[in-house]
Each structure stands twice: as structure tokens, then as C-alpha cells.
């Protein structure tokens, strides 16, 4: 790109910046997404903006049968963040296909369906049903919930089990498969590699951090579930570090997430190695933040003298930078 493109206010440069990214065979017009569990199935946010301003909507987790969720309290605020233990309440895949998916398809936006299950078979069954119905562009696998068949071991903390579920879903669908990595592991690189080897097209990094808050007056945990998942700006440095590590471990794209509350936060994830990023808890607080980030992204790419957003990915890694400039 010529130097002229660096100057601000010339009107036509925004068109010159290519924001598209690719995961598997699917092209996303922008790398800006909204994280599962913070955006429902899109209806509520469509009151604030055109969902087509985003690259993708990652919908709230969908299971084979309806899940009731946990007792209350399900949420508690913590410093610059919050703990939640909603318990993946959702109406099940049939209701999702019938009541929510057609609405999402009215918008020019990719739909990534977050899939949850209590066994490998359940993940596969949900994906098969969605493939049959059509309308999902990719599947994000939430592998952070307890595996009942395996006696309570979570898919998300055992590389062998993660590979098993990713492999089974891989064999069931031609659409991109994106496991969502749990940060509650000793070695996230091993988890990412296991997913890549099992045929994942990308990984989402990261889900919430296991946490707890105690009611000092009542002398018991605040959440009815005891523990919950920590999200919000409080976790951003932890999440950025994990994206950095995953980038060094695998070749597949990373969708980075964890506490993004502005464009510069998102860029940290991109420079650490994320091909795309998702705004999560901040959607609760600033409903249209994701569209503001999407609006301003091209300008940043341009200011850096780049023609493609994809050229920014991983640039904070010394090796990556040398490769790019060679």
C-alpha cells in the first residue's frame, strides 16, 4: 500500500483495507465476532444495531435436549469482571433451529453455533441435526462442561478426551469445527495441539477462568453453584498470554477472546496471534461496542501501513515479524 493510504481523512482508503479472514473453507468479511453466552441468539442486540456489521455471531450454547441451568444466584460482580454459573440454560437444538436460527439468517453475518453436550455422542448428534437443518456456518465446541460418561472429567482439561470429541465431530461434518479451549489447564499448548491433530479448523481461546466469591456475612459461596466462570477485563492479560502460547503451538487460526473492552484490547489478541477476536462480557455493558470496534478496525490497519488485516496477526511474536518482513 502506498504512503498516501496512511493519511487520515482521505475518504476512500477504508475500501483499500481487506478485513476478511478465513477459517477452514469459510470466509468471514471481518474478524470481529461476539462470544458465545454474551449475545443470546442475537435477537436482543438486533434492537441496537444491524447484526450484519459483525463478522460472526457465536450463539449461546445449544444442546441436544433443553437444559434448565443452575439455581440462583447465577452471577456475582468481581473487580473489573464477573463470575457466572448460568449452567448453560438453553432450549435445545430443535427450538434453536425453529425459533432462533431463521432470525439470525436474515442478517449478512456468519453464524457460529456453540455446541454443548454431556457425551461425545451428544455433540455429534447436535452437529448432525444442525447440518441437516442448514444455516450454521461453523461449529464452536464448548468442551468445558463435565463429561458424564467419563465420570466427571471435563473434555476441556484432558487432551485425549478433547481429541476424541473434536475427531468425532470432524468426521460428522464438513463445516469448520472450532473447539473452545478452557484456560483451566496446566498446558494449554498441549490442548491446542490435540485439537489440531484431531482435525480442528481453528480454536477459540479462551473460555472463562474458574473462580469463586464468598459472602463474608453469610459465610458461604455467593453463587448457588459454588464456583463460576470469571470473565471481563480482569482476565484479559491471562487470556492474551494463552493466545500467545497457542499461536506458538499450532498452525490453525485462533479466535481470541477474554475481557476485550475496546479496539486496543482486541489488537492485543491479534498481535498475540489471533486471526479473529470476540467481544464477550463487554456486550452486557456496552451493547454496540462490537460494532464500534468493527468500524474503527480498518483505520488501524491502515495507520500501520498494511493493506490486509491478516498481516497484523501474530506480529508481536519476534519470529513472526521477521518472517513477515523477510
Amino acid at each position: 500500500m502506498s504512503d498516501g493510504a496512511l493519511r487520515a481523512g482521505e475518504g476512500m482508503e477504508a475500501r483499500a483495507v481487506d478485513l476478511s479472514v478465513r477459517i477452514g473453507d469459510v470466509v468471514f468479511k471481518k474478524p470481529v465476532m461476539v462470544a458465545s453466552g454474551t449475545f443470546g441468539y442475537g435477537k436482543e442486540y438486533a434492537e441496537f444495531f444491524d447484526l450484519g456489521l459483525l463478522g460472526a455471531v457465536m450463539v449461546k450454547g445449544v444442546s441436544l435436549e433443553p437444559w434448565p441451568g443452575n439455581p440462583l444466584p447465577r452471577i456475582v460482580e468481581t473487580p473489573s469482571g464477573m463470575l457466572n454459573a448460568i449452567g448453560l440454560q438453553n432450549p435445545g437444538v430443535e427450538a434453536f433451529i425453529r425459533d432462533y436460527l431463521p432470525f439470525l439468517r436474515e442478517f449478512d453475518v456468519r453464524v457460529i453455533v456453540n455446541v454443548i453436550g454431556k457425551s461425545v455422542d451428544e455433540y455429534v448428534a447436535v452437529v448432525r441435526r444442525l447440518d441437516e437443518a442448514g444455516g450454521a456456518d461453523a461449529y464452536e465446541l464448548n468442551i468445558s462442561c463435565p463429561n458424564i460418561k467419563e465420570g466427571g472429567i471435563a473434555f476441556g482439561v484432558d487432551p485425549r478426551l478433547a481429541a476424541e470429541v473434536v475427531g468425532a465431530v470432524r468426521r460428522a461434518t464438513a463445516r469448520p469445527v472450532i473447539p473452545k479451549l478452557s484456560p483451566n489447564v496446566t498446558d494449554i499448548k498441549a490442548m491446542a495441539r490435540a485439537c489440531e491433530d484431531a482435525g480442528a479448523d481453528a480454536v477459540s481461546a479462551v473460555n472463562t477462568f474458574l473462580g469463586m466469591a464468598i459472602d463474608v456475612d453469610a459465610e458461604k459461596p455467593v453463587l448457588a453453584n459454588g464456583v463460576g466462570g470469571l470473565s471481563g477485563p480482569a482476565i484479559r492479560p491471562l487470556a492474551v498470554r494463552m493466545v500467545w502460547d497457542v499461536y506458538e503451538a499450532v498452525q490453525i487460526p485462533i479466535i481470541g477472546m477474554g475481557g476485550i473492552a475496546g479496539l486496543r484490547d482486541a489488537l492485543e489478541f491479534v498481535l498475540a496471534g489471533a486471526t479473529a477476536f470476540a467481544i464477550g462480557t463487554a456486550n452486557f455493558v456496552a451493547p454496540a461496542l462490537s460494532t464500534e470496534i468493527a468500524r474503527d478496525l480498518a483505520g488501524v490497519v491502515q495507520k500501520k501501513g498494511l493493506g490486509r488485516f491478516a498481516d497484523l496477526v501474530g506480529r508481536a511474536h519476534p519470529g513472526r515479524r521477521a518472517r513477515a518482513e523477510a
Binding site: 447465577r74 440454560q89 471481563g232 456486550n283 452486557f284
Partner: protein, 279 residues
């Protein structure tokens, strides 16, 4: 049902902010955009932190207290860090508001109450009283008769009563400690309101807002007399938009099945007969 305007995120300049009782504040904001169509029982979600700050992260929900001319107000009690920070905001400062949110009171079924010699009873407890004042403004505009019964912990906790009196409405008052009005609970006043039907008009409906145990009692008393009730509920909210599923409450759905309803979306106002009261 109450409220059809699309919610928006608004940056509003504080017109007035004053303490109206110990620990209780009235925040007056300009009435802009969709807030002009706010219905009684709907709420706004306010960021209780400095602009650009990330803590405390989550917004706090406040029901609309009154709408007059080009202004609206919320009334709140300082209970924690968020409301304490909000209480420090001064006239001229900007606050970040999302609204109007939720579903408010439905007064349409009572449009003919006056002709039928009927009235509504508004029953409020503590900081649950303000949305009932807004409701009474709308009822007056619509010519729907009502009486007001409000309960507080004690005399220095009384709010909104002055505004009613200025409009010629004399609320029945109870206090737990007996320092003002009748000693006891607002539910005692509600029983009396039913008893006074002979001269004040038959009670066609009860509209309530207050602590959950009060709402459960109000719904029971109304049901015993075969009168519909609408109750404005409160619950810890994450988003206030209907997506995080933190503020759900159990309700009886079609055919009697139990299901979760979102207080921020299907509520905060519910049919008192449909709520499953655990208190």
C-alpha cells in the same frame, strides 16, 4: 403490554441529583429518544463508574420514578459500591444510560374502570415505591381511579409521598417501627383497601413493587379475592438486556408447566398469579 420503544445507549447530562431521605437519592435526567415512550415499570440500566473506567463493570437497573416535561427521574437507595459511586455524580455530569428496558405494567384492561365504579390499588414497599408513582401519573392521564398504599421501614425512609400529596393523592402509609402512619406492613393496608370497597369502589386490580416476600403476599391476597395482580420484581442482573440469563424467575407457562422467565425481559412486571413464589 407496557413499553414498545427500542432501547438505546444514551449519554445523558444530569439535570438534578439530590438526597430526598437519608441514603435515598433522586437523579433527574433529560428525557431523550426512546425514553419518551418509557412505560411505568420499565427500567434503565446505569453505568455507576467514571467514564472510561471498567469497575464496577456491570450496570445497575433502576425503574423510572417519574416523567415530567423533558425530564425523567429514578429514585434509589445506596446499598453497595455501585449506588455509592452513583450518589457522587453531580448536576452537569454525564451518565451512561441504557433504556428503556423490560416490560412494564399493563393498564389497558382497566381503561373502563371509572365507568364501572372500579379502582386500582397501588401497593409499594420501600424503594419499590417509585415505579408506582410513575404508574399513578399514567393512570391519572388515562382517567383510571386508584388508591395508594405504601410501606416503609420507618419515617426517615419515606419517599415519593410528597409528590403524591402535591397532586392531591393521599397515600395510606405503614411503617414497620410505627414511626409514621400505621404500624405494620403494607399488606395490612391492602386488606383494608379491599374492606373499603363499599365506599371507595371495587378493587379491579392490584399493582405492586417491593421486596419479594411482600410481592408474594400481595399476589396471594389479590388471588384470594379473585382480583388480578401485577408485580414488579427485582433480581441480580448481568446485562439487563435478556441475554445473560442471570435474573431468571420461575413462572407458570401455558398449560401449567414451570419455566424460567427473564426478569429483565419478560419482566420486571409479571402477572402475580403466574409467578412461582419461593419466599
Amino acid at each position: 403490554m407496557g413499553g414498545g420503544a427500542m432501547p438505546e445507549q444514551l449519554r445523558l447530562q444530569v439535570l438534578e441529583h439530590r438526597m430526598v431521605a437519608p441514603g435515598h437519592f433522586e437523579l433527574v435526567l433529560p428525557l431523550e429518544r426512546g425514553m419518551r415512550e418509557a412505560a411505568p415499570g420499565q427500567f434503565v440500566n446505569i453505568a455507576c463508574r467514571a467514564e472510561g473506567a471498567l469497575d464496577p463493570l456491570l450496570r445497575r437497573p433502576f425503574s423510572v420514578y417519574w416523567v415530567e416535561g423533558d425530564a425523567f427521574a429514578v429514585l434509589y437507595r445506596v446499598v453497595g459500591r455501585g449506588t455509592r459511586l452513583l450518589s457522587q455524580v453531580k448536576a452537569g455530569d454525564f451518565v451512561d444510560v441504557v433504556g428503556p428496558l423490560g416490560r412494564g405494567f399493563d393498564i389497558e384492561p382497566f381503561a373502563q374502570a371509572s365507568k364501572r365504579g372500579e379502582r386500582l390499588v397501588l401497593a409499594g414497599g420501600g424503594v419499590g415505591v417509585p415505579p408506582l408513582y410513575f404508574l399513578s401519573q399514567r393512570l391519572s392521564e388515562e382517567g383510571i381511579p386508584f388508591t395508594v398504599a405504601v410501606g416503609f421501614a420507618g419515617r426517615d425512609q419515606i419517599v415519593a409521598v410528597d409528590r403524591w400529596r402535591a397532586r392531591g393523592v393521599e397515600p395510606a402509609i405503614s411503617t414497620v417501627d410505627g414511626s409514621a402512619g400505621r404500624r405494620g406492613l403494607v399488606t395490612d393496608l391492602l386488606e383494608e383497601a379491599f374492606a373499603a370497597a363499599a365506599h371507595d369502589g371495587r378493587v379491579a386490580g392490584v399493582f405492586a413493587c417491593g421486596p419479594v416476600r411482600m410481592l408474594a403476599a400481595v399476589a396471594r391476597i389479590a388471588a384470594e379475592r379473585g382480583v388480578p395482580s401485577q408485580v414488579a420484581m427485582e433480581e441480580w442482573m448481568g446485562c439487563g438486556l435478556g441475554v445473560c440469563l442471570s435474573c431468571v424467575t420461575k413462572v407458570r407457562g401455558e398449560g401449567g408447566s414451570l419455566e424460567w422467565a427473564r426478569v429483565c425481559r419478560e419482566g420486571p412486571v409479571f402477572d402475580g398469579a403466574k409467578v412461582v413464589w419461593s419466599a
